[in-house]
């Protein structure tokens, strides 16, 4: 598999008053096309920073983030916006649905700006929520909200799905369902998926696992993914 996205010696630090706080140190990582990559780490290990760099939400302080020939570290705001719009689908821990929009409208937020979008109903059907399109987030369970968020992420036909602790706010049964859905998206739709988690058990569904500690990638291993149904969450 060829790399879809390459992180080459990327560092990121934040300034807090007088102090420079490093969040990511010299991280190098390839995201391979079609794989399910899990980034595993404890709270404060730099997982979200890594995801932000991969998703074009932030630029590294040093190093490169290559998407094909394009170095996201040096890309303009406009180029990063277009990158996120056309290449990336985000799934967040807290779902981040717009509370004043229905499930269908939350998906349409992406449909309206994407180059080759799915229909909103089609995206909702993929996550099994075609009947609940007219419900507002407050009328949906946590699992259903996360499904809407996945439908929204898929609706723009992105190359890469970035999931930030997608089950961090869900019970174990719902978590299993969401992970199963993500696995399905990877296997059936062929989408590359990068998932951040702190759960060792959840990490078992990925093809590869990158372990992060104190801002550094300490291990990168390939594994035989297990089905989400078999996870002991």
């Amino acid at each position: 598999m060829k790399p879809l996205l390459r992180l080459l010696g990327a560092s990121k630090s934040y300034r807090m008053g007088e102090i420079e706080v490093p969040a990511l140190r010299q991280a190098s990582l390839d995201v391979l096309e079609g794989e399910f990559l899990v980034i595993l780490g404890q709270s404060g290990s730099g997982k979200s920073t890594l995801l932000n760099l991969l998703g074009g939400m932030d630029r590294p302080t040093a190093g490169q983030v290559l998407f094909g020939e394009q170095d996201l570290a040096r890309a303009s705001d406009r180029a990063l916006t277009l990158y996120r719009r056309h290449q990336i689908g985000f799934v967040f821990q807290f779902f981040n649905l717009v509370p004043t929009l229905t499930a269908r409208e939350n998906v349409e937020v992406v449909v309206e700006i994407a180059r080759q979008p799915m229909k909103a109903s089609e995206a909702l059907a993929l996550v099994g929520l075609e009947q609940r399109g007219h419900h507002f987030p407050s009328q949906l369970s946590g699992g259903q909200q996360q499904r809407v968020a996945i439908a929204r992420a898929l609706a723009g036909n992105p190359s890469l799905l970035l999931c930030d602790e997608p089950t961090g706010n869900l019970d174990s049964e719902t978590s299993r369902q969401i992970l199963s859905l993500l696995q399905d998206v990877n296997q059936r739709l062929g989408k590359t998926v990068v998932m951040i988690t702190h759960s060792l058990e959840s990490a078992r569904i990925g093809h590869r696992v990158a372990e992060l500690r104190d801002g550094s990638i300490t291990a990168l291993r390939t594994q035989q993914p297990v089905s989400a149904e078999e996870l002991n969450l």
């Binding site: 998703g55 939400m57 996120r84 719009r85 056309h86 985000f90 929009l101 309206e112 700006i113």
Partner: protein
Amino acid sequence: MRTLWRKLGRELWMRKGSLLALVAIAAVGEGCLTGLACTYLDMDLARERFYRECRLAHFNLEFKRAPLGFLEELRRIPNVAQLEPRISLPLRVEFKGDLLSGTVHSLPADHQPLNDALSLTRGSWFSGGPGQTIINEAFGRANDLNPGSRLAVLLQGQERKLTVVGRARSPEYVYVISPGSGVVPDPGRTPVLYMPFPELQELGDLEGACNQVLGTVADRSQLHNTLRLLQERLQPYGVLQATVDSEEASVQVLAGELQGLKISSTVLPGICLAVAALVLNVVMGRMVAQQRVVIGTLRALGYSAWQVARHYLSIGLCIGSAGALAGLMLGIWLQRTMVALYAQFYELPSIRAGSYPQVLAGGVLVCLFFACLGSWGGVRSALRLEPAESMRPAPPELGGAIWLEGWGWLWSRMSFATKMVLRSLMRNPFRCLVTAFGSAMATALMVEAFCLGDSIKFLNDYEFRRTSHQDLTILLREPRDWASLGELRGLAGVEVVEGQLNVPCDLSFGPRTRRVSLTGLVPDARLYLPLDQRGYPVRPQAQGLVLSARAASVLQARVGDLVRVKPLVGERRENDCLVTQIVDTYLGMGAYCDLAYLSRLIGEDRSASSVLLRSSAQHLGVQMVPRPWVLGLNWRLTSYAKMRATLDQSLGTSLGILSTFAALLSFGSVLNLALVSLSERSREVGTFRVLGLNPEEVAGIFVMESYLLNGLGIVAGLPLGAVLVKSITASYDTDFFRFPTLVPFHRILLSVGLMLFFISLAQLVVLRMVGRLNWLDALKVRE
């Protein structure tokens, strides 16, 4: 972006109550702007059109008598474009048992005059028969006099029966201030009649002559020089008065009114739109802070910073557009109401509420501009928010000790709620300023609304009740020997009789000259005495002048200066007179002196031009009818009651409008800012509820904060209101009257009381919101 529009619509709907209040403030601003600007245009265009079409004379010269042939010589004076003779005489109209003093002017028998032409509203021009007259429209309308009506008049001591052939308006009498009617016109008692020139020549014993010329000049910049030349030439014929158009009472009052309107159309909308923009700024800032994660999500999903910013700008623009739309309707209503009000007082033929698309469009743009300005802070925050940063919770608010905490003995005695309020105030200085500013402006408007009405009422009270104490004023056709008026004392029921002598004089001091009306008062005057600013009566000394502050300021004369007085009647001898006192009166640009002293100045024995009576006699008016030297009667209390009724009606309308605007301003700004404060601290509310405080106790914290800030605003608004009253009354200043700046204590109390009422009303909404707040959710909420 359709979906974002839906989001916007729902979010606006969710906040409909508070945003409606904000829309109302913007609407008031926009409504005042377009309404007052359109009213100004209506009035200004009507004035300009009337003056142009009826050719308002540039100057007007009154003299005793000059042969018509001499006019040719006057016409040859450089810069004189047109010159036309006229005869003007005082006359008495006997109408429904009342004796009304008025004026009759001559007109060419078969065509309009060159200047001060009439705009006929009913009837026709003279048809050639004797005793025909055209009357002024307002007088005819008030007394239901129409073509064919008969009028009994006393002209040059002879009784005549005149037939009304028409009713007309004249550019000379757009606003008529008649003696004894205060500052509000009393058209029903102010007859202005017009008769054919030849007939009036005969009646006035002016065959081959005239006593007035009206005219225009080619170059207006030389108007005063030309007028001086004309006066010099006419000197042998006894010039009584030379007036340029801008000095005419009607022209001056109308110009003053338009000036006041212009100021109001800037100040009022400025205040409302500024408050709306500031409150919107706070509201938008809060909305963006609340939607930090939504903004981050939208950016993560591929929306550009500008697309997000545009979305939030649209929220402000929606509020602005709603305000503009409501403001347009309010403006149109305000324009119609104001124009109808003006039409009661100003005799302009084409005064009507016109449509001015450019003004309406300008108003909408101004409203949208203020909405953009108000939204900009929030929009800028949205623009600056980096996508990665916005996905993280906002950093906790900076909190350090405030300076008050340094006063340990005071700080330790405060309740936790007071400490919270004080910390919140000092950590959010901008919001505090906006809250206080909103209240200050609303208070200022409230004070202005009440006090402007008081100023006008005061001025009428001043003339009718404070300076004057007579029951009846008898105006004489011409000054009479004081001794010959002794017969009035003998009339049954007459208690006090006082003579007064009014003489037009040129007062000169240094290079400055001003024509004023010099009033001679009897030494023991009780029925009329001018008052100084403190309200004390001023009694002229046996010799010397008491100058009104306005005349003193124009002449730059002070007490102790010798002012040259040249009476325009009698022997017309020049005298140097000592200024003994200066009084700051509100009416006219006059001067006062002893009656005998003034009589000596004009070379006559003690004479009077009007007589004041205090009397319990009934039917005194009827007894005056046979006396041909009586020009007219003014019943003080009747006129006063009529003026009060007129003022109450017209002031009631404008006061109601202004105070409603002030109420909306205070309620809207207080409510929005209190709700922002509540939303920012919903987590605190939740915590307090968990700790066992009831909704009233929690709301009490917000109420305390609100009263403290708005209280400061109210205190600041009181002097601002006084400044506003002063600037608006100053804009109405003319030579004929000056509105006092009054800020009476009971009005301050009323304004403060009303402000507290509206603030409390807004607090009730806050209390309800606290009661309805799902505080468990608030505790869970991830900002």
